[in-house]
């Protein structure tokens, strides 16, 4: 009964998340609106464009009831530009789409897969969080909705390789304290890197555990004595450097 999986999402689970992404669908036939568990589904009438979750878009596509409009970033032109950026800047991933503005009434902030980062109105120049999964799934289920599916497939593979190399190279900056910024990383890449990146950080932490405990104790003592320990810390850092 208990889930036998280790912590961290498995690839099928990441794909499941990705299937909640909204894509733009052009219906081929009329469909009445529906009350679904995740909110109401608007009535569909051709040739209107409607944003729908990916799982539903696939269902309609499989039954030839609709076509899917690939997001603008999934075009050969955009992907070439992004790939170019990825290869030129080898210290970071290409920037993610602009994070949507925070609702001012401070309600629940939305995040992928619930942002419209893969509809027809999405930004053309940035890879969203689920770029790889979404691209692969769209190419598999709706290749005929692409203008140049083979080209897109080739570019996706190129991007994946360029980015995986960065992820592997990024390991050099890992240390026991963690605190590594990875803006622009994709969902599947997190899934692939989690065991390794997490393992390295946790392993380094265990090696440095006694030193860390010492520092924790010293910090606590200093806090209790009200003694500012900055000068001390500074000296010690310099010692470490030598």
């Amino acid at each position: 009964m208990a889930l036998p999986l280790p912590p961290g999402l498995t690839p099928p689970e990441i794909a499941f998340l990705c299937e909640m992404e909204l894509v733009t669908v052009i219906s081929r036939q009329r469909l009445e609106g529906l009350e679904l568990l995740g909110g109401p589904l608007p009535p569909l009438s051709p040739p209107q464009r409607t944003p729908l979750p990916l799982w539903l878009a696939f269902l309609l596509k499989r039954q030839r009831r609709a076509n899917i409009l690939p997001p603008p970033w999934l075009s050969p032109h955009s992907l070439t530009a992004i790939l170019d950026h990825e290869t030129k800047h080898d210290d970071a991933f290409s920037p993610p789409p602009r994070f949507y503005p925070l609702p001012s009434n401070n309600t629940l902030p939305f995040s992928p897969p619930f942002l419209s980062s893969s509809t027809a109105d999405a930004a053309p120049d940035a890879l969203p969080y689920h770029w790889l999964e979404l691209g692969e799934m769209l190419l598999e289920a709706a290749a005929d909705d692409f203008e140049e599916p083979d080209n897109v497939r080739k570019l996706l593979r190129g991007l994946r390789e360029a980015r995986m190399a960065k992820l592997r190279k990024g390991v050099e900056v890992l240390d026991a304290g963690g605190g590594v910024r990875m803006n622009g990383v994709g969902g599947m890449e997190v899934g692939e890197g989690r065991a390794f990146v997490g393992g390295v950080i946790d392993g380094l932490r265990k090696i440095a555990a006694s030193r860390e405990q010492q520092k924790k104790d010293r910090d606590r003592e200093e806090r209790e004595n009200g003694y500012p320990g900055t000068a001390d810390d500074y000296d010690e850092n310099e010692m470490d450097m030598q």
Binding site: A2, L3, L5, P7, G8, L9, E13, F16, L17, E19, M20, L31, E32, L34, L36, L37, G38, G39, P40, L41, W55, L56, L59, F99, P101, L102, P103, S104, N105, T107, L108, P109, F110, S111, P113, F114, Y129, A176, G177, G178, G179, V180, R181, M182, N183, G184, V185, G187, V190, R194, V197, G198, R205, E212, Q213, K215, K216, D219, D233, N237
Partner: protein, 218 residues
Amino acid sequence: MDIDDILAEVTADAVPQETCDLQELTRAWVTERVAPEILPYPDALMERVLERIRKQIELVEDQTGNMDPKTNFKLIVIQTELERFKFLVRSFLRARIAKLDKHPLHIFESHTNDPTLLSPSEHQYLTQHQALLSQHYHSSFLSQFPDALQRLDDTTGGMSMIDKPDEDTAVFCRVLREVGVVSVEGTDRVFEMKRGDVWVVRWSAIRQRVLLGDIELI
């Protein structure tokens, strides 16, 4: 206030409760699958979701006999979504049970300090399962040990028998609201986390922020 703020306000207000709940449930599931320790049970959310699922199942049962092709397709859509929801709920609960099984005594202690941690049925499962286990251990071998060595939750002698999750495990997270500067205890690490950033940090450093909803795990 620029155009983005106005747009954000409009869209945030227009989002129906059901969609917010789906986002919240999805986030709770991911967090529970990724975080090293068990998190407070989202009582109100689960109640709403389960109630909706129950109603949707009733609807499906009512309309299954209908052979009209139009209604039939509607039912397929409804059932597909229903299965997805059921998977989310089930996987979420199973991930929690896995944690209960792994650190029963520790979670039992935490639940005593904070009774919102577990749902009533989880608490019942934990106590009964633990009672059965210790009874079994006693009858099969513990009773033959010296009295002083029979306990399963001995904490004397500077060593605790109670297993705890490793709270310093590194996790991947995304910043949802500005949190400012975060420091990692025991190291010199201090960094600023901005909205939209993705970081790999220790769970213990951001735990409170995740509970407040400022940061989410991915």
